[in-house]
Amino acid sequence: MSKGSRDRAIKARQIVASQKAAERRRTVTLWTSVAVVLVLFVAGLIGYTVLSGQDEGKVTTPASAVDEGTAFATGAGPVTVDVYEDFMCPSCGNFEAATGPTLKQLATDGKITLRFHPVAILDRFSNGTEYSTRSAAASAAAAEEGKFIEFHDVLYANQPEENTDGLSDAEMIELAATVGLTSDTFKNAVNEGTYKAWATQVTETFSERGHTGTPTIVVDGKTLTGENNTVPSAELITQTVEKAAG
């Protein structure tokens, strides 16, 4: 074999080898891409399945709830004031301390119908104990015993800080006892989480109505905010109510 033909043979082998390598790369790229598409499809499907599973919880709507079964009302005045609150939300705690008494006075004076919507958007701030959902559900149990406002107030007076476990069911039952709420029906409902699915539904309704934060205050169907999207003050609410009453 001459030197020239040997060189040609080596070159030919190299070409064949690199073609084979390229072929292998193409095959691997194709099949790994197919695998990726499958993995992503399955992942999406899992997400969808988990979601569908969550929707199946049986909702027990408290009989005393108004406004499509999402709120508890006090007072019977001509102007409706809707308050959406999460028991974990510090800003709601401040709002209750500053404006709660004014609102309740307006309701007592027959000027407004005050409707509380206990929503649960802050479950992620209670170390996995879902205090927002549990407390909203417990407030429904209190409402069924005619003690919603009392229980609502005592929960805010003892509001846990964010990123703690929140109040345990037992602690909520203890606090309820201090406002004269001691029935077994209430205790069982809290311990069994009877109204938890309902709390989730109230939260969905809240979102569907386009609200994103708590506290949200709505006067006669119009969301009321202070300057720069702040929580409205007691004065502003009173003024708005008087204007709405005409």
Partner: protein, 163 residues
């Protein structure tokens, strides 16, 4: 000399790409795992953009964290790296578009990028600019991987018969 520099760069690229791949994997895994525990909150974060109906937002909000985790795992093992990086780039581009939309529309929301976001409290300002810059940095990682998808310690490498 130019040639030795080129050779050095050729040797360095797989390592740079490996860093990009693992970094992007971490981004997806963190982003996904922060949302996966509270799918309802994830849905609310999506709905807050006011781009779709609540029922659609619920599905998107539930599917998204699972997709993010899947992408993170695929990048971690290094399977079809170029393709996975391209999908990542597409997703991140959609996220940036969403933030720009929220910004332009004057919505006051947390982007929900690394949280279940949604609402912002009174006095909080949305950090849209920073969110976009961060997403652009992630996009750059995707770019590196699409351009130079060969990485160390990857399933691709094993399947291609490297080493």
């Amino acid at each position: 000399m130019e040639t030795t520099r080129q050779i050095r760069m050729a040797a360095a690229w797989p390592w740079i790409s490996t860093g990009a791949r693992l970094g992007l994997a971490a981004v997806w895994l963190v982003a996904g795992s922060l949302k996966i525990g509270d799918l309802a909150a994830s849905a609310r974060a999506v709905y807050a953009y006011q781009l779709m109906s609540y029922d659609t937002a619920k599905i998107v909000g539930a599917v998204q964290p699972f997709l993010e985790i899947a992408l993170g795992l695929l990048l971690l093992i290094g399977l079809a790296t170029r393709f996975t990086a391209a999908i990542s780039a597409a997703l991140i581009t959609i996220f940036i578009a969403g933030i720009v939309w929220a910004w332009a529309k004057g919505l006051r929301i947390d982007c929900g990028c690394f949280s279940t976001g949604g609402e912002l409290g009174a006095g909080e300002t949305p950090g849209y600019g920073i969110d976009i810059l961060r997403d652009l940095a992630f996009l750059a990682l995707c770019g590196i991987l699409v351009w130079r998808p060969r990485t160390r310690f990857s399933l691709d490498g094993v399947l291609m018969g490297e080493r």
